[in-house]
């Protein structure tokens, strides 16, 4: 066998292993969810009560689904203006200058910070600030968790949209300038229509990332297994309830947590697939 073939088989084996692992994970999630699904059926998706007390156990995922979507959507709404401005600064206004370099390095740095550090910052710095300006009396909740999440997903939203904005052909921009367009007009009429789908896709991927974030959210959301009533209400997310209760759970409780894991797996997969589809379809 020549070295070319050997390389091919090794590469094939490695990628097959990834497929098998992902399939195995999905299988074990489905298998683990069966006992819970037998007891609660589809009602699991629409029941907000989560009662793990022995003897009176009944579980529903609605509070966590709502909590997850609420924090992630709020985070996305906060992140979009930040990410969009950063992208324009780095990829257009200050393209290839020292300032763009510093900004994009800082954004990349944010992506490398472990989420527990974000959690600690939120806990010790952001939370007291929120209390001191009187937004909430204890500072935990959707708002705080969403704000920190927003900062965490900015790098994901920015780095992809940067390269997409940079990919807009220079000829087009030069043509617009030669027709007397201002910079703002070039951005709105040339860059955005060209880069729109890529930018949207990058925000969707960032949203997918927000859905699964665990540590920082657990530290800030208040971990109350209730339907959040508003932006300053406490709540809980799917990833965070799993992290919190997995160690001590058994029986139907454990199975319900695994079912939440399966739901999160499915939701994240759908979000990611949507993002990829948009890139493919419109790019």
């Amino acid at each position: 066998m020549n070295s070319d073939k050997i390389t091919k088989y090794i590469l094939f084996g490695a990628s097959l292993l990834i497929l098998v692992l992902a399939g195995g994970m999905l299988y074990s999630l489905v298998e683990g969810s069966v006992p819970s699904f037998r007891v609660f059926g589809w009602k699991f998706l629409v029941t907000p009560e989560w009662n793990p007390t022995q003897g009176d156990q009944h579980f529903g995922a609605l509070a966590f689904i709502v909590g997850t979507l609420f924090t992630s959507i709020f985070a996305l709404l906060v992140a979009i203006p930040l990410a969009f401005s950063t992208s324009l600064i780095v990829a257009e206004y200050f393209r290839k200058t020292w300032f763009a370099n510093v900004v994009s390095t800082c954004v990349d740095l944010l992506a490398g910070i472990p989420s527990v550090i974000f959690g600690l910052w939120g806990f010790y710095a952001l939370r007291p600030f929120i209390v001191s300006i009187g937004l909430s009396h204890q500072g935990f909740g959707i708002f705080t968790a969403g704000l920190v999440l927003a900062i965490m997903i900015v790098p994901y939203a920015t780095s992809l949209s940067n390269s997409i904005i940079m990919m807009v052909p220079n000829e087009l921009k030069e043509a617009a300038y030669s027709l007397g367009a201002t910079r703002l007009e070039v951005i709105w009429n040339v860059i955005l229509p060209n880069a729109r789908s890529g930018i949207t896709a990058s925000y969707i991927l960032a949203f997918g990332r927000a859905l699964g974030e665990t540590m920082a959210v657990t530290m800030l959301i208040g971990n109350a297994n209730i339907l959040p009533k508003g932006l300053f209400s406490t709540g809980n997310t799917m990833a965070s309830v799993i992290a919190n209760e997995f160690g001590e759970a058994s029986g139907v409780h454990l199975s319900s947590l695994i079912e939440i894991g399966l739901l999160l797996f499915v939701i994240t997969a759908i979000i990611n697939a949507t993002g990829k589809y948009i890139i493919k379809k419109f790019a």
Partner: protein
């Protein structure tokens, strides 16, 4: 992605426990256990002192009491540690008969954060009403009446509980169940319950951190964590009607009652006038017949000798140094007799 990490981490823990067991031979025996975080500081300190004495290495994973029970059930550890004894249902769910015995006890303290207030008295009623969400503000007349001279601020009460499953929660909710019929009817007790109000902190350190960082917070933590972080904590009125601070003497008093032969007892709301009412034992669980999964006699002997030593005055003194309460002599004697019922091929291992 986080859950993949979790599964991998668990897989690694299990795998390492497993390999540890397989490697066990005559010359160097390795034991492994997992469970309670409540008692972890005691076990890890004591095991470190035990290894140079005997050459036996003991690894302990603080993965939570429920996780410890599950690991023992899956036979991937030599012993499980839990702050909640096994219920009859859990006993029958085990693949083979097990024995369980307490190793020490500890207090759960009501820690709070109010500027300028270092001391507070709480009755079971007021405490239950705070956790039921009926007393919402610190300047509630019920609190003022109990604490003449203390100037409570007009602040909402931030109730803090454990978000993860926990033996500490088990002890605390067991106490609430005993003192409040309403709590008993609505929420009951267990390692996790459906908390009506408040915010959850992860682990004892998480709750202690949340309290110390949140003005107006009150929460329950294992005493060591409040002592270490110097967070003020309340005196609680015990069954005899005396307001009592959690300390070494009052926690020991709580554990003084008669221990049933199967050691399954909750010592919350003790009738002893000197006792602090929110305290509990922590247990170790092992299989009664030690010849399973190709275990060697040497392995079984090492396990039994370890726990025999953990009950000795040397090891119990370590518990006291780090703010746990050693077992009363009568319980040590009972534990030792339980250890002597553990067999290998039907023959008792310890004489």
């Amino acid at each position: 992605m986080k859950k993949i990490g979790l599964f991998l981490a668990l897989a690694l823990v299990f795998a390492s426990c497993h390999s540890g067991k397989k490697n066990g031979n005559q010359s160097s025996v390795t034991l492994s256990g997992a469970g309670s975080t409540f008692v972890m500081p005691f076990y890890t300190t004591a095991f470190q002192k035990y290894t140079p004495l005997t050459g036996v290495k003991v690894s302990y994973g603080g993965i939570g009491s429920g996780g410890g029970i599950r690991s023992l059930k899956d036979r991937v550890v030599d012993f499980g540690a839990s702050d909640a004894f096994l219920t009859d249902t859990q006993m029958t769910a085990m693949p083979a008969p097990v024995v369980e015995f307490p190793t020490c006890s500890g207090a759960v303290v009501m820690a709070f954060n109010l500027p300028g207030i270092q001391d507070m008295k709480l009755t079971p009623d007021v405490l239950a009403n705070i956790y039921l969400g009926k007393i919402k503000k610190w300047n509630d007349p019920a609190l003022a009446q109990l604490n003449p001279g203390v100037k409570f601020p007009n602040l909402p009460i931030t109730v803090v509980y454990r978000s993860d499953g926990s033996g500490t929660s088990n002890i605390f909710t067991n106490y609430l169940t005993k003192v409040s019929p309403e709590w008993k009817a609505k929420y009951g007790f267990g390692t996790t319950v459906n908390w009506p109000v408040g915010i959850g902190g992860k682990g004892n350190p998480g709750v202690a951190g949340t309290i110390s960082q949140t003005v107006g917070a009150i929460g329950y933590v294992e005493s060591t964590y409040a002592f270490a972080q110097k967070i003020p904590f309340a005196s609680v009125k015990n069954q005899a009607g005396i307001f009592i601070k959690p300390d070494f003497a009052s926690t020991s008093a709580a554990g003084k009652g008669t221990m049933p032969a199967d050691t399954r007892i909750m010592i919350t709301n003790s009738p002893d006038p000197a006792a602090y009412p929110i305290a509990g034992f922590t247990w170790v669980i092992i299989y009664k017949e030690q010849n399973y999964n190709n275990r060697t006699l040497a392995q079984a002997e090492a396990l039994l000798k370890l726990w025999d030593w953990m009950l000795s005055s040397d090891a119990q003194a370590i518990a006291q140094q780090i703010d746990y309460v050693p077992l009363p002599a009568s319980v040590v004697a009972l534990d030792k007799s339980i250890l002597r019922t553990v067999t290998f091929n039907g023959k008792p291992i310890l004489q």
